[in-house]
């Protein structure tokens, strides 16, 4: 009898979490460290070095147990120094310099997250997310210590993200660790050569704010 009482209490405790709307209205903060891997023209033309200086995250509002919307944000700092080379300014003008490219991006975007098993007791919760918005990009190219080219401004950005959330408790998925891989695109310039493409590998924590 005692076993049945315990089991009943346990089921009652699980019911709110497993109901379809258990996540509705729940506000979460997701903060993660992000490793940025340049791709494509961005890699070949500007920076090929992996950026270990990055953050990403979001504040999300649960719509139901599967969908959440929110505001995503991030920061990524790319830097690469190329060996001293002689460049032609004109046929009769040459400059020898160590060239450095420095690019910082701060994306702010609307984001939607799909978590098919949220609200269940699964300890591995896959998710998919997508977002679009504006990235505030600063680009500086240096010849030696001198800035030769700089551009900054808000640019269109979009991202897709997939990974898993690892709740710390089988019965409360609102606090969890998260690891994932994202693809980020930022239309930085007027040509494809100036677009920033990167893959981000991130790991972080999710907390319930409200």
């Amino acid at each position: 009898m005692k076993k049945y009482i315990i089991l009943t209490l346990l089921l009652f405790s699980l019911l709110p979490a497993s109901s379809l709307w258990a996540q509705r209205g729940i506000v979460k903060l997701n903060a993660a460290y992000n490793l940025g891997l340049p791709l494509g023209n961005f890699k070949s033309n500007y920076v090929s070095n992996i950026s270990p200086r990055g953050l990403m995250g979001d504040v999300s509002l649960g719509l139901n147990n599967k969908w959440a919307v929110g505001l995503g944000f991030g920061y990524q700092d790319f830097y690469q120094k190329y060996p001293r080379t002689v460049y032609n300014l004109a046929s009769n003008q040459q400059i020898s310099a160590v060239l450095s490219n420095s690019i910082q991006a701060v994306p702010v975007m609307a984001k939607v997250t799909f978590t098919p098993f949220l609200g269940t007791t699964k300890l591995i919760q896959p998710y998919l997310a997508a977002g679009a918005g504006i990235s505030f990009v600063t680009y500086n190219q240096y010849l030696g210590e001198f800035s030769s080219n700089n551009t900054s401004g808000g640019k269109f950005t979009a991202m897709a993200d997939a990974g898993i959330q690892l709740p710390f408790s089988r019965y409360n998925s609102n606090t969890a660790a998260e690891i994932g891989v994202s693809y980020n695109y930022t239309r930085f310039g007027m040509s494809d050569a100036m677009n920033m493409n990167m893959v981000g590998i991130h790991a972080g924590l999710i907390f319930q704010l409200h």
Partner: protein, 212 residues
């Protein structure tokens, strides 16, 4: 293309002294002194440098400090003069005294400012005749001519300029044309121990400087 280098003709005016913004940030704070330096050379493309055989070099460095010039010969200045002499001779030119009618004259200038802010050096060549009396080279009354540009820059920084003068054709031209300029900017320029390598950088990117 390994990486994108966007340099336009407008950059030249900026590059010499008018770099867009010389404010350093974390991207360049970690550069070593040699890596901070840029070496810029430009030449008169109508000139055949092998038509010159002899040269003479001013025996002191002219220091232009906030627009005022003075002559100086420090061990560092001497190291630069020695290095320029060495690489000119390696290029096949013969060092002669300035009284022996050299084909080429070489002036070395250290341009300095102690003022932080936007400095306009567009007047560098405008006042060249004030810094370098053409009488020194035996052409009193002649003016200098340079197609090279200087702009503005925004930090307290020095530059070393090496100007090569066409003395061989000065009389025919009616002026002293500056047919080659080498410019060094960056940190730690005024260092006797690196003078040779700095001058070597200028000459190595100017393979057309050959007497034969």
């Amino acid at each position: 293309m390994k990486y994108n280098l966007k340099l336009t003709s407008g950059f030249w005016a900026l590059a010499i002294f008018g770099l867009v913004s010389c404010t350093k940030n974390s991207a360049v704070n970690n550069l070593s002194n040699p890596d901070t330096r840029i070496y810029i050379t430009q030449r008169d493309s109508t000139v055949n440098f092998s038509s010159y055989k002899t040269f003479s070099i001013d025996d002191s460095v002219t220091v232009v400090d906030n627009g005022q010039s003075s002559k100086s010969l420090t061990p560092t200045g001497q190291a630069f003069i020695d290095a320029i002499t060495k690489y000119m001779q390696q290029a096949g030119y013969t060092l002669v005294s300035k009284s022996a009618s050299p084909d080429l004259g070489i002036n070395v200038t250290y341009i300095n400012t102690t003022t932080t802010g936007i400095i306009d050096y567009s007047s560098y060549y405008d006042y060249y005749g004030g810094y370098y009396d053409p009488t020194y080279w035996g052409y009193g009354g002649y003016g200098y001519y340079s197609p090279y540009m200087y702009g503005t820059y925004q930090i307290n920084s020095g530059a070393l300029s090496i100007d090569m003068l066409d003395l061989k054709n000065a009389a025919a031209n009616g002026k002293i044309k500056i047919i080659w300029n080498g410019l060094i900017r960056g940190e730690g320029i005024a260092d006797a121990t690196t003078a040779d390598s700095q001058v070597q950088a200028l000459f190595s990117q100017s393979p057309y400087l050959k007497a034969k």
